[in-house]
């Protein structure tokens, strides 16, 4: 191993919301911190979040963190861990106010407080009626947040390594995490970043599906690295299909559109959500709305020449409201659907959006395998599974997740670094060598599989076998197919061997991460023979014994997938909150 080593107190991989929020804690504590990112920080996918960040500020009407907690537990279909959920909902007002102090340009109410809008599944008084909880900056909340967090990090002199891709996690013989192997994209030089504490804030992996709202960069790098290093991935069968992706393009249209009064209509012009969720209607939870839409389309009530989408209608709203509260949506509709939503409804279809599962952590951001903390290893944001989203995430809880757990993991790292020995231990080289061998294999491959063939096969398989509705036989076949795709990925080949900003090589390395996520998803989904949240199967139907197909007796537990032999294990859901009573199991309806 002849790789240069750079040493830090902390290394953070990923500079989206979670990575930046954690970096701020560490930089302000004066610790030597390296933040690695494949893209300039403000290009991270947090930038694309639109509708809002939830916090029970109660600026427009009474609200309480306990109600927010109830909604989150219910939204998770009781798969979320109630200690982590309580922690997140209690912390929400603090981190949102803090963000405002950092300069976040929130919209305002007439009294000067932060503007809040209704959102799917946000209710007051334990599920009674919709409440305004989503704190918004027009429909560009993620953009405004990411820029504010980056700006605050500029103020704090955070050290960024921009356009560096982390390749692999480094663990010593005892399993302690020592840092990462990373490649400078401009030069293809490989370095080890050694640190006392390592945080993964690498975001999601929506690119395993053919149709996704996710950016090209959302390739599950943290998940791939963790899986290769022997860390299990939790609850990977749970993927959120956002109800409103632009039909054909996949670009996101925020739930905030329905929060502002938008209505979903089928080919008859009917407001069909009234039949599926009589109380919350268009603002039911995302999994519920997506399934209703697919049911409408499957039963022949879809719109357009191919009857393959439904319509999101805001033509009844005041054009001034659309221009001031939903300007980004109007821009996206015009550019990607060719429709001005002031005049005509937007064609939409459920689209893969968010990964509820991830690297198992506790609410302090520490990575845990069963109950054992992995020393020196932390994860936050979409890559992590705390688990606050369980089987289905509520809209706006993702931006909240990255603020709360970015901050708490930063704090945990500070504590850990303070008690760690001053000098870094000798670097274990086995993982470094394995990582170098992976790059060497790719550069030396001949007569292999083109990257695009393997990637397209993976995306097609995931889309057809593991979508909004899942079928026992299709899942079984999906597992076989995805293992065949994995064999293709083992021989992927690139024609371009340049060492200067070689994006072909980066895409190949990304695919090696995506395939780990795809396997984890398909195998975990095939094994879970119930319906819960976003995971709904034909052989686990709605019956009186198992309302909505949920089987708490056998399946109220988290999945853990290990890369080694695709082994599955399970761990109990933590139903015990930190300070309040357990939110008791109940049938979910909106």
């Amino acid at each position: 191993m002849a790789v240069p080593v750079r040493k830090f107190d902390a290394v953070i991989v990923g500079a989206g919301g979670a990575g930046l929020r954690a970096a701020l804690q560490l930089s302000e504590a004066g610790l030597k911190t390296a933040v690695l990112s494949k893209v300039f920080p403000t290009r991270s996918h947090t930038v694309a979040a639109q509708g809002g960040v939830s916090a029970s500020l109660g600026n427009s009407e009474p609200d309480h963190w306990h109600w927010h907690m109830y909604d989150t537990v219910k939204g998770s279909d009781w798969l979320g861990d109630q200690d982590a959920i309580e922690f997140m909902c209690r912390e929400a007002p603090n981190v949102v106010v803090e963000l405002e102090h950092f300069g976040m340009p929130f919209d305002r109410n007439a009294d000067g407080t932060i503007y809040q809008r209704p959102f799917g599944g946000h209710m007051s008084n334990f599920g009674e009626k919709p409440v305004r909880r989503a704190c918004a900056a027009a429909d560009r909340t993620g953009h405004a947040m990411l820029h504010a967090l980056y700006q605050r990090n500029v103020r704090a002199n955070t050290q960024f390594f921009v356009e560096w891709m982390a390749l692999d996690l480094v663990r010593d013989e005892q399993g302690n995490v020592q840092g990462v192997v990373a490649m400078e994209m401009e030069t293809s030089e490989v370095y080890v970043f050694q640190a006392k504490a390592t945080l993964f804030a690498t975001g999601g992996a929506g690119r395993i599906f053919a149709s996704s709202t996710n950016a090209f960069i959302n390739t599950g790098d943290g998940l791939g690295m963790a899986a290769r290093a022997g860390i299990p991935l939790e609850d990977m069968e749970f993927w959120q299909f956002h109800p409103t992706g632009v039909a054909g393009a996949g670009v996101l249209i925020t739930e905030g559109v329905r929060g502002e009064g938008g209505i979903l209509r089928n080919s008859a012009g009917e407001r069909f959500m009234e039949r599926y969720a009589p109380n919350a209607k268009d603002l039911a939870s995302r999994d519920v709305v997506s399934r209703a839409m697919v049911t409408e389309i499957n039963e022949g009530r879809g719109c357009g020449p191919h009857k393959d989408h439904v319509l999101l209608d805001i033509t009844h709203l005041d054009p001034e409201v659309i221009k001031s509260k939903l300007p980004g949506i109007r821009e996206i509709s015009i550019k990607f659907a060719g429709v001005d939503p002031i005049k005509a409804p937007i064609p939409v279809v459920p689209t893969c959006h968010y990964q509820m599962g991830g690297i198992p952590t506790n609410y302090r951001g520490e990575v845990v395998v069963h109950d054992q903390v992995v020393p020196g290893f932390y994860a936050a944001g979409e890559v992590a599974c705390a688990s606050v989203h369980g089987a289905n995430r509520l809209g706006t809880n993702s931006l909240l997740d990255l603020l709360v757990f970015g901050k708490s993991s930063g704090n945990s790292m500070i504590e850990y670094i303070k008690t760690a020995p001053k000098d870094l231990p000798p670097l274990a080289t086995a993982d470094v060598d394995r990582s170098l061998a992976r790059v060497a294999r790719l550069d030396g491959q001949q007569n292999g599989t083109p990257v695009e063939s393997a990637r397209a096969a993976m995306q097609r398989t995931m889309q057809n076998h593991c979508g909004v509705f899942r079928f026992k036989d299709m899942l079984k076949e999906g597992v076989e197919k995805i293992l065949e795709v994995e064999a293709m990925v083992r021989t992927i080949e690139i024609a371009d061997k340049s060492r200067t900003f070689n994006t072909a090589r980066l895409e190949a390395l990304e695919l090696e991460n995506l395939i780990e996520v795809a396997k984890a998803t398909m195998i975990s989904a095939e094994a879970r023979t119930e319906s819960r949240g976003a995971h709904v199967r034909d052989d686990a139907a709605d019956t009186p014994e198992h309302p909505n197909g949920r089987d708490d007796e056998n399946w109220l537990k988290h999945t853990l997938w290990y890369r080694d032999a695709n082994r599955l294990d399970y761990k109990p859901v933590n139903l015990k909150p930190l300070s309040v009573e357990t939110i008791a199991l109940k049938t979910r309806s909106y």
């Binding site: 403000t42 340009p105 500029v154 950016a215 340049s498 994006t503």
Partner: protein, 236 residues
Amino acid sequence: MTTRTVKFSIYRFDPEKDAKPYMKDYTVDLGPSDHKLLDALVKLKVVDDSVSFRRSCREGVCGSDAMNINGRNGLACVTNIDDLKQPIQIRPLPGLPVIRDLIVDMTQFFKQYHSIKPYVVNDTPAPDRERLQSQEDRKELDGLYECILCACCSTSCPSFWWNPDKFVGPAGLLAAYRFIADTRDTATNERLDNLEDPYRLFRCHTIMNCVDVCPKELNPTKAIGKIKDLMVKRMA
């Protein structure tokens, strides 16, 4: 049904093997849902994986895929193929060093952005709750905070081409005004001091290329005018 194709002429340069840059012609088959220039470039990369460009969100909000398209700076992901004369001439953003193909070195651009102290300065103790801001005051930030740092504006500005190390450029100045205009920021004077210089602000000659190319329809020239007004007011 006939296959839709698109013809490109793309700037190519890999310092490892090319003595100098050259333009290369390509014809690419498009799929039924390929409407944007980025869709076509992604298809091209399947055919020739050495064509290098940045891209991420593919919806015009991350600012990665700025390039010079038929002589005009823009984002590939929001540019309609059908609106472009073919063969489409694609070059890197002008005025910045080229790393490879369409990938430019943006160090100077970000250095100027950082030079304006792009963060809210307010040293009064933070209240327990949010700082209040009226709807009218918040409205002052519209048209400023939405910048995606794609650099289309600064790299279309002749003043920035000549003095990228001394002139802040439209993107940086738009950001400077974003903080001046924020009622929560208390450093207006220092911000104006920081720009009071023959180059940093005053190299803007209102050519307005920045306004013309901004993919977010922002108006840096207007923001620059407002900073200049504040300078004048301050002197009087």
